[in-house]
């Protein structure tokens, strides 16, 4: 059984990791009360930044950093527009996606057709040779482990630390947080930058490890799935992790089903993840009181200091 199951599971992990990064980043952003619809744009800029730096320097480490910085830089534009200039968050987020797709195509013009060797696997001797479990749990690249660490530390940070409390407070009632004496927009900007860096890492994983080459528009809607995952996870990082693996799984099953020659139109299967997103969103919003209780009360609302 191991001869096809293990590779299948491994591909699920690689397909899910970009979603984990992007979704966990967005959880933090939305917890602070900001709705950033530009995940797709931040991911793709992260992807090209990482790929360009990786190909040019040959260093995987630099490439990963470049991905995070690229995502954060685009997020900064969004943060400046919505937090400092009080632009509408929905409009600014959509614009960010469109901008990111176009800008990355421009940056990536000279990189089409080039390849990157991929991220080195961190194989731990002996235990990574244990059949089945070994290759599944050990022997991944640094970003896969990083995504798990990010989920755990974000969950801890949001729920157990003062910083997390501040983020939740700002997202819950920005007027109160301001009158107590916290700088609402600084906290939000930090979260937006974090979210951007995470989306950038998600993008970097795509262009460095998942398919180590540059294709225009290669995020192909993953940013939107990550966005849906945040609601699906009712703004909890660990649930976003589970959700990401669920969606990653659906994507891969779709591919494998095609490989096994299942008599279903491939178009239908490639539609599945998006269909699942819609179904999940409908199911979640059915119980409106529950969704409201979990949602940050100030989500999407600009904070105007003089008010």
């Amino acid at each position: 059984m191991g001869d096809w199951l293990v590779p299948a599971l491994l591909t699920i992990i690689t397909a899910s990791t970009p979603l984990v990064f992007a979704a966990v980043g967005e959880v933090v952003v939305e917890k602070s009360g900001v709705l950033n619809l530009g995940i797709e744009g931040m991911m793709i800029v992260g992807a090209i930044s990482a790929f360009a730096v990786g190909v040019t320097t040959g260093s995987a480490t630099l490439a990963i950093f470049a991905g995070a910085i690229g995502g954060a830089a685009v997020a900064f534009i969004f943060g400046f527009l919505t937090l400092n200039l009080l632009a509408n968050q929905v409009a600014a987020g959509l614009a960010l996606t469109i901008f990111g797709l176009g800008f990355s195509a421009l940056l990536g013009h000279g990189f089409v057709g080039k390849t990157f060797p991929g991220l080195p696997k961190l194989e731990i001797p002996i235990i990574s040779e244990i059949p089945f479990i070994g290759p599944l749990l050990f022997g991944h690249d640094i970003l896969v482990y990083g995504s798990v660490i990010i989920v755990i530390s974000t969950t801890y940070m949001l729920n157990k630390t003062r910083v997390g409390l501040l983020i939740r407070a700002v997202g819950e009632n920005h007027d109160a947080a301001h009158s107590i004496g916290y700088s609402v927009n600084k906290i939000r900007m930090a979260c937006v930058l974090f979210g951007g860096a995470m989306a950038g890492l998600g993008g970097a994983y795509l262009s460095l490890a998942y398919t180590p080459l540059w294709v225009e528009g290669m995020t192909s809607g993953r940013g939107w799935i990550a966005l849906a995952l945040v609601v699906f996870a009712s703004w909890k990082a660990w649930r976003a992790f589970l959700g990401a693996y669920l969606f990653g799984g659906i994507t891969i099953i779709q591919l494998h089903a095609q490989g096994f020659g299942v008599e279903i139109a491939p178009e239908f299967l490639s539609m599945l993840p998006y269909l699942a997103t819609i179904v999940v969103l409908v199911l979640i919003s059915r119980d409106s009181s529950r969704a409201k209780l979990n949602a940050p009360a100030c989500l999407g609302r600009s904070f105007h200091e003089a008010g």
């Binding site: 939740r168 819950e172 007027d175 109160a176 947080a177 107590i180 004496g181 009181s289 409201k292 209780l293």
Partner: protein
């Protein structure tokens, strides 16, 4: 207290916003252990001054001396370090967080250690402010929420406690409890800056009062030596004409009737209404007292038709069953209404006054001809509201949100009253309205009743209800008590009903009978 160093001394504080001078050369001195009242109408500059003391805002000029030393308080955490604590009027609480988290966020990180929960229990027991640190704020009553704010301040061992309109949301009994705590703090040497426009409370509690008007300190007094009326006159700078109940010319049968009405609220933290029965007769004013969040908004929505009920017979205007009809139908049936929120509910903030007048009056005032807006008539209508109701505005083409609260509320009342409603329902009619406008609004409600309309006033302000109402009922957790003549019910009884203690009142009733 002479010879002592004042705890806080402000001198020559000025602050201007674009177009408004909020504070002009304000000076204030607070001694240790003193309960100092800051008195003034809305917009007199009290909040601006307090925001400056607490470091939320900076002043344009002036000096701030704390225990004799000059300071510049740049932000609230610095104010807290000095020993200034503040209880906000609109609580600075977070519904989705627990009591403990809410407190942790408002105090310095060093204090918010692991044993915060125990500290909260200790302090709350010590001062008689029971609180459970693990409860979530949205499950708490308003009185309990205020306790969170007070405990949050007390944990930091404050030397100066600022309280901004602390009693506006409390029952008379809760107020008494709060005053006990405040007096005890004062005995321990804590100074208290008490902001309110409830004059009787200030007379009972405060040692000294500073009176502000139009951004300036205009007077100061020893409240215990003054009468509420004399303080009100200092506050307004004019003689206050209190509303008079006009002679009743008509007194007809029930005109607004609610029968056996129950409804589940679909608001997130809403209140379900349970078996409400209410009759308002022609020519009378019925008041409903109660602490906010006990179903007032839900009752209002059912009366205006924003929320429909299943049984059309459960709401009647005159003979017409309107339970299943929307606001438009009800207006035609003779209903006028003034919701709680002026901006956004009572009026469209960005639209001009005449447009707002049109929106509610277009049917009854015939402001539409052949499907088009009759601009001439609408403007005439708006102008007549402005002149008859004394609305101070640069013009009726200005947006509703350019008016002060009192003036906009007068405009909204005028709009409804000029449509000659047979029934009018008002929720918190004078909330956040200056004393002059409030008196005017109360008077016009009573005049309307004298002309034969049925008037229902839902309010938290007991003084107001006693002033205008013929009969008073109390709403508590979605049930409305049966109204009793205003002459026969006392503030204490209402207070108990507002706190949900009805048995004692009933006992008292039978004893009276």
């Amino acid at each position: 207290m002479t010879g002592q160093i004042p705890r806080l001394e402000l001198e020559g504080i000025s602050k201007a916003y674009p177009g408004v001078v909020a504070n002009e050369n304000v000076s204030l001195k607070i001694m240790p252990g003193e309960i100092h009242a800051l008195l003034g109408e809305n917009g007199a500059g009290k909040s601006t001054l307090v925001k400056f003391i607490y470091g939320v805002q900076t002043a344009d000029s002036g000096s701030f001396k704390w225990e004799g030393q000059e300071f510049a308080v740049a932000n609230p955490s610095m104010a807290r370090k000095l020993g200034i604590g503040m209880v906000f009027q609109h609580f600075s609480l977070f519904d989705a967080l627990s009591v403990e988290e809410n407190i942790a966020i408002g105090i310095s990180p060093e204090l918010a250690g692991d044993n915060l929960g125990r500290q909260i229990r200790d302090v709350s027991r010590q001062y008689g402010l029971p609180l459970d640190p693990d409860r979530f704020v949205h499950t708490l009553s308003v009185g309990e929420r205020q306790r969170i704010e007070v405990v949050r301040c007390l944990l930091q061992n404050p030397k100066l406690l600022i309280m901004d309109e602390p009693t506006s949301v409390l029952t008379p009994q809760e107020v008494a409890e709060l005053f006990k705590t405040l007096r005890r703090l004062s005995e321990e040497g804590v100074s208290i800056l008490y902001i309110s426009h409830k004059l009787q409370e200030i007379k009972d509690l405060c040692h000294v009062a500073t009176i502000m008007r139009m951004g300036r300190v205009v007077d100061s007094c020893i409240p215990s030596e003054e009468s509420p009326l004399s303080m009100a006159e200092m506050m307004m700078g004019a003689n206050l004409v209190s509303p008079e109940k006009p002679e009743k010319s008509v007194h007809g049968g029930p005109h607004l009737v609610v029968k056996n009405l129950s409804l589940q609220s679909d608001h997130q933290h809403g209140v379900d209404l349970k078996n409400i029965n209410l009759e308002v007769c022609k020519g009378e004013v019925v008041g409903i007292a109660g602490i906010a969040g006990n179903g007032q908004i839900e009752v209002m929505e059912i009366l205006t038709g924003e929320v429909l009920v299943e049984d059309p017979n459960s709401v009647l205007i005159g003979e017409i069953c309107v339970g299943c009809e929307g606001p438009k139908f009800r207006r035609n049936a003779g209903l006028g209404f003034v919701p709680e929120e002026r901006l956004g509910h009572g009026a469209v903030p960005e639209m001009s006054l005449w447009e707002n007048a049109f929106l509610s009056g277009f049917q009854t005032m015939c402001l539409v001809s052949r499907g088009f807006i009759d601009v001439q008539e609408s403007i005439k209508y708006a102008l007549s509201i402005v002149s008859k109701f004394n609305v101070k505005t640069p013009g009726i083409k200005h947006a509703a949100n350019s008016l002060s609260g009192g003036n906009l509320q007068k405009f909204i009342f005028g709009r409804e009253i000029l449509q000659n409603p047979e029934v009018i329902v008002a929720l918190q009619p004078t909330w956040g309205v200056d004393a002059g406008s409030a008196a005017f609004i109360r008077q016009s409600l009573m005049d309307l009743a004298a002309k034969g309309a049925a008037v229902l006033v839902i309010s938290q302000d007991l003084q107001e209800l006693f002033e205008v109402s013929d009969r008073i009922a109390v709403i508590y957790e979605g049930t409305v008590s049966s109204p009793r003549p205003a002459e026969d019910i006392t503030v204490e009884e209402i207070g108990l009903l507002m706190a949900g203690i009805s048995s004692e009142v009933e006992l008292g009733l039978t004893a009276d009978a």
